[in-house]
């Protein structure tokens, strides 16, 4: 009898804190730090490198990826018990592709110049390994709400790296942030020159390497032994 009441209270408790319990909060914070999709899981690199010359496309890309990851996780997680195992890749890809089409059409409607600059990279969200990777690793085995949070967390972790890279590249490479000049004209007349390397895609490789270096020296557990 007492056991029965205990289980019911336990269930109630679980229901009460289910939305933002510590475990669920961890789903959001973990991918921003020690389980970052870019620096630790090596997912979603392709787009991270190409859209970070300036801050604005980087932010829009981060928002797009977060939305697609979160909703793809939610939808696939809701359907996970009905998808036959053999064709799950195709089902997942169709769901992702449909979401990406929506994002792409929205961008074209509201920020046309940015969508032109991002060109094929919006389409490449479909094959962005973050989306696919999280679907396989998390959404196929978890309930819809934690999956949704996991998607948001990974999108934010991806966005955080993107914004750091874009900030460094735009400020050092063009002397601007979000299009506003931050390095005073006097510097240029005194002989300061923008760093041309920062505009090339290679610079983002170096910046990611430095981020990985800092992150791993602060937390030696993450060091690659191989």
């Amino acid at each position: 009898m007492s056991q029965a009441t205990e289980t019911t209270t336990a269930v109630q408790e679980q229901k009460k804190d289910a939305w933002f319990s510590p475990k669920n909060r961890k789903l959001i914070t973990d991918p921003i730090g020690d389980n970052n999709p870019i620096t630790i899981q090596i997912l979603g690199l392709c787009s991270a490198l190409a859209v970070t010359t300036q801050l604005k496309p980087a932010i829009i890309m981060a928002i797009g990826v977060t939305i697609v990851t979160a909703f793809a996780n939610l939808i696939i997680s809701a359907m996970r018990n009905t998808i036959p195992n053999r064709i799950r890749m195709i089902v997942q890809l169709v769901v992702i592709a449909a979401l990406v089409v929506i994002v792409d059409q929205l961008l074209r409607a509201f920020v046309y110049d940015v969508s032109k600059k991002l060109s094929v990279f919006i389409g490449l969200i479909i094959t962005n390994c973050i989306v696919m990777g999280r679907l396989e690793a998390f959404a196929m085995a978890n309930k819809p709400w934690p999956s949704f949070l996991d998607g948001i967390g990974n999108g934010l972790g991806y966005g955080a790296i993107l914004v750091i890279i874009a900030l460094l590249r735009e400020s050092l490479g063009s002397g601007t942030i979000l299009g506003y000049q931050i390095i005073p004209q006097a510097f240029y007349t005194a002989g300061y020159v923008n760093n041309g390397l920062m505009v090339t895609p290679a610079a983002s490789m170096f910046i990611i390497a430095i981020i990985i270096w800092i992150q791993r020296s602060r937390n030696p557990k993450l060091v690659d032994i191989s």
Partner: protein, 204 residues
């Protein structure tokens, strides 16, 4: 003929998928630990890109672009389905990879064993979809798209094999522990990208 050769050289070297656009990085980083597996994946990518780019060209130009459906009925000539191109492309790629896998398994078990796990993995390699999207963006015609697909694939294969060879040698060098593995691989790719930039001055 000369045009086709130009597109081939351009797609393989000047506009190398990995080292100029940094597309297809995920598998590039993950699979470049040994030359043997890199060759396997490189061959699979050449194969799949060479097939999917022309087939996606057919879908794009016979079904999706404005006016393409005119052959069914004149009233359909104004229908523009290009907003569906992402879904169509990825479905074609996923289906083709599945098909290629089955055909290879039946006809050539040795090749099948050599490619192994890499064939299904290719579906989510960004380079394949990017090939199709670049093909649309640059408005190639059919023969050009065949050559472009092959060239882009070969460029990707060259890059991953070179990277794997360097990483095999790296095992004997003294790298700060925190940079070992992934970190140094990023720096290497950046340096290779800069090396490839010197090809950009060539006008074709």
């Amino acid at each position: 003929m000369q045009d086709l050769l130009n597109i081939f050289i351009k797609s393989a070297f000047l506009e190398n998928m990995v080292l100029a656009y940094f597309i297809g990085m995920c598998s590039f980083m993950a699979v470049s630990k040994s030359v043997k597996t890199a060759v396997g994946l490189g061959a699979a990518v050449v194969f799949v890109l060479g097939i999917t780019v022309p087939i996606n060209w057919l879908f794009q130009n016979l079904l999706l672009v404005e006016g393409a459906l005119g052959w069914i009925h004149p009233s359909l000539a104004t229908v523009d389905l290009t907003f569906l191109s992402f879904i169509v492309f990825i479905a074609v790629i996923a289906a083709l990879v599945q098909l290629v896998e089955m055909v290879v398994e039946k006809t050539s078990p040795t090749l099948y064993n050599a490619l192994g796990i890499f064939l299904p993995l290719i579906t989510v390699n960004c380079a394949i979809l990017a090939g199709a999207l670049f093909m649309v963006q640059r408005e190639y015609n059919f023969p050009e798209s065949v050559v472009y697909g092959l060239g882009a694939g070969i460029g990707w294969a060259i890059a991953i094999i070179a990277m794997a060879a360097i990483r095999e040698k790296l095992r004997y060098s003294n790298i700060p522990p925190a940079l070992r593995g992934l970190g140094i691989a990023f720096i290497l790719t950046g340096l290779m990208g800069i090396a490839f930039m010197s090809l950009m001055g060539i006008k074709l």
